[in-house]
């Protein structure tokens, strides 16, 4: 593994650990209100400062990691499931099935993703689980294209012909002979999809149609911070920095899974 990827993986592992152990490692309770120390700037007792109710921002960022990370990761798994299915069927079947599925994929790709999601979220007013589904539903198209291209090239290879000649049913050939070979491409696409999912969630929450308080996510912390950005900049800077850092690590990791360019 190359060095940037190792650093990225390390940071992500630490972040995950923090999120999982949130109740233990967080310096304060999640909802502990301390009106005497409202809007306090970062200090040794409150590393990231406090918000308008005196709640410790570091604590909220750590708990927010649970929401943001799980939305990103679960939605990526969902996107992968949809994308791999559509891409594999399109690539393997060819003909009109391929045409129909790819036109649908193209159509989904031409609708601007964020506005579409914002309307959907405003209409549905989702809780966190529904939000995961929404983000997952708009993230599968790239995956479908990648898998389709892979399947198209793999299905012409000799080992697939052999599997078919031995009487393998199409589903079986596809599932146990072709799909495993798409794994490298899918893992790159999925890692990048996690980053994109986190960005989408935070953008939705930033516009007030994503994760709703009292649940804290990095995006809705920014939403609440944007009006006081000038007087209490720490409320916006830290959650945003965590979004940035996390997405950056996922993208670096995704990049490192890419096969090295030849020549």
């Amino acid at each position: 593994m190359r060095r940037p990827a190792a650093i990225g993986a390390g940071i992500l592992a630490a972040m995950l650990l923090l999120a999982i152990l949130a109740p233990i490692v967080a310096p304060y309770g999640f909802d502990v209100i301390d009106l005497a120390h409202r809007r306090a700037a970062p200090s040794t007792s409150h590393w990231f400062g406090t918000d308008e109710l005196g709640r410790d921002l570091l604590t909220r960022v750590i708990f927010g990691a649970r929401v943001s990370l799980s939305i990103g990761m679960i939605s990526a798994v969902m996107s992968a499931a949809i994308g791999v299915t559509i891409g594999a069927v399109a690539g393997y079947a060819g003909g009109w099935v391929d045409d129909a599925l790819m036109r649908f994929t193209d159509a989904m790709l031409s609708i601007p993703r964020l506005p579409l999601l914002m309307i959907a979220a405003a209409v549905i007013e989702p809780g966190v689980p529904t939000l995961v589904v929404l983000v997952g539903l708009v993230g599968w198209m790239e995956m479908a294209r990648v898998v389709r291209a892979d399947v198209q090239s793999i299905k012409t290879t000799d080992f697939v012909a052999a599997a078919r000649a031995l009487g393998g049913a199409p589903e079986r050939v596809l599932r146990s002979h072709i799909l495993p070979s798409t794994f490298p491409a899918v893992s790159v696409a999925m890692t990048i999809a996690v980053g994109r999912g986190i960005l989408l969630e935070s953008a939705l929450s930033f516009f007030g149609v994503g994760v709703q308080p009292p649940t804290a996510s990095w995006g809705n912390m920014l939403y609440q911070a944007q009006t006081t950005m000038v007087t209490e900049p720490w409320l916006g800077i830290f959650p945003g920095a965590f979004i940035f850092l996390t997405v950056l690590c996922f993208n670096i990791l995704g990049d490192s899974f890419r096969p090295l360019p030849s020549g």
Binding site: L109, S110, I111, P115, S202, A203, P233, G240
Partner: protein, 314 residues
């Protein structure tokens, strides 16, 4: 020519699929398009029924869809719930501001991407630095980047105005240009990062091609090999990618315009979202998708026109 016709014809079913998706999405609202009236205590249930009949909302969904689609094609996009004015008029009056912002940032993004992409493909040391910078650019949350720039360059340093398109009662070109700086940088940043990575990739490919070796063998200077031979080869996929990214640009514009209170179409979208002004939202989504589809079409046609190799396959 047959390719052009086929490609144009292919765009139509694509847009039909988009229109169905948009229509279904709006009708998935708990109260349907009349939500706003349902929430208004002054509107009696009888009025709702009457409105439903009047607006044709009691007809079967496919019929409603077709009549909506037909009206949309004719340019009858309905009226805004928020102020009762025609939706098309509201969108059109916001368009110049968006074109100004998107145009400037595309230009800025392309220039930065060209410089970074070319330099990264020829200078190894520079390449290392830019690889990290490029991934960082892609990972930046646009709204946060906007807020931070506002904080630093508008509030702390006071170099640029923090929002709006011009100072009220004090117009002029200089003033407008100053307002444009921060939003244009924010909107261009992510794009420039992605584009320069792409250009670097195709430049690497081009520099490994036999024709660049041949050019070197003929004694062409390194500068000429890079800028004349390789860049020419790499430019075509680059232009395509810039056009294909229109969808990302649209999403970015919505966020940027909202953060900087830029009075464009994206700002109109977020305002309409807050008011659940569905006619405007629907029209925005349709128009956005049409623009993206048309730019994708243009990208394909451009490749087809310039690159003779793609013609054999058609």
């Amino acid at each position: 020519m047959r390719f052009v016709v086929r490609r144009v014809v292919q765009t139509i079913p694509l847009l039909l699929v988009v229109s169905v998706l948009v229509f279904v999405l709006i009708h998935a609202t708990p109260g349907g398009p009349l939500t706003l009236y349902l929430e208004n205590p002054n509107v009696r249930p009888a009025d709702i029924e009457r409105l439903k009949r009047q607006l044709g909302l009691d007809r079967p969904l496919p019929v409603q869809y077709l009549s909506w689609l037909w009206a949309f094609v004719r340019g009858d996009w309905g009226f805004s719930y928020a102020d009762g004015r025609p939706v098309m008029q509201r969108l059109l009056e916001r368009l110049p501001a968006t074109l100004e912002l998107v145009g400037t940032s595309t230009l800025l993004g392309v220039i930065v991407a060209l410089i970074v992409g070319i330099l990264a493909s020829v200078r190894r040391g520079f390449d290392r630095v830019t690889t990290i910078a490029v991934v960082a650019g892609i990972s930046l949350p646009v709204f946060w980047f906007g807020l931070v720039l506002q904080l630093v360059f508008a509030n702390a340093l006071g170099w640029f105005p923090s929002s709006g398109r011009s100072t009220i009662g004090f117009g002029g070109f200089g003033d407008q240009a100053m307002h444009l700086v921060l939003p244009a940088i924010v909107l261009a940043s992510a794009q420039a990062a992605g584009w320069s990575r792409y250009l670097r990739g195709s430049m690497h490919l081009a520099l490994a091609m036999p024709f660049t070796t041949a050019a070197r063998a003929r004694g062409a200077s390194e500068r000429r090999v890079v800028l004349h031979h390789a860049l020419r080869y790499a430019l075509l996929p680059f232009v395509t990618v810039v056009l294909l990214d229109a969808s990302i640009m649209a999403s970015g514009a919505v966020v940027t315009e909202s953060v900087f209170a830029w009075p464009g179409v994206g700002g109109l979208f977020t305002e309409s979202l807050a008011k659940r002004d569905y006619t405007v939202l629907m029209a925005f989504l349709m128009c956005g998708s049409i623009v993206v589809a048309v730019l994708n079409l243009l990208a394909d046609l451009a490749v087809h026109a310039i690159d003779p190799r793609t013609r054999e396959a058609a």
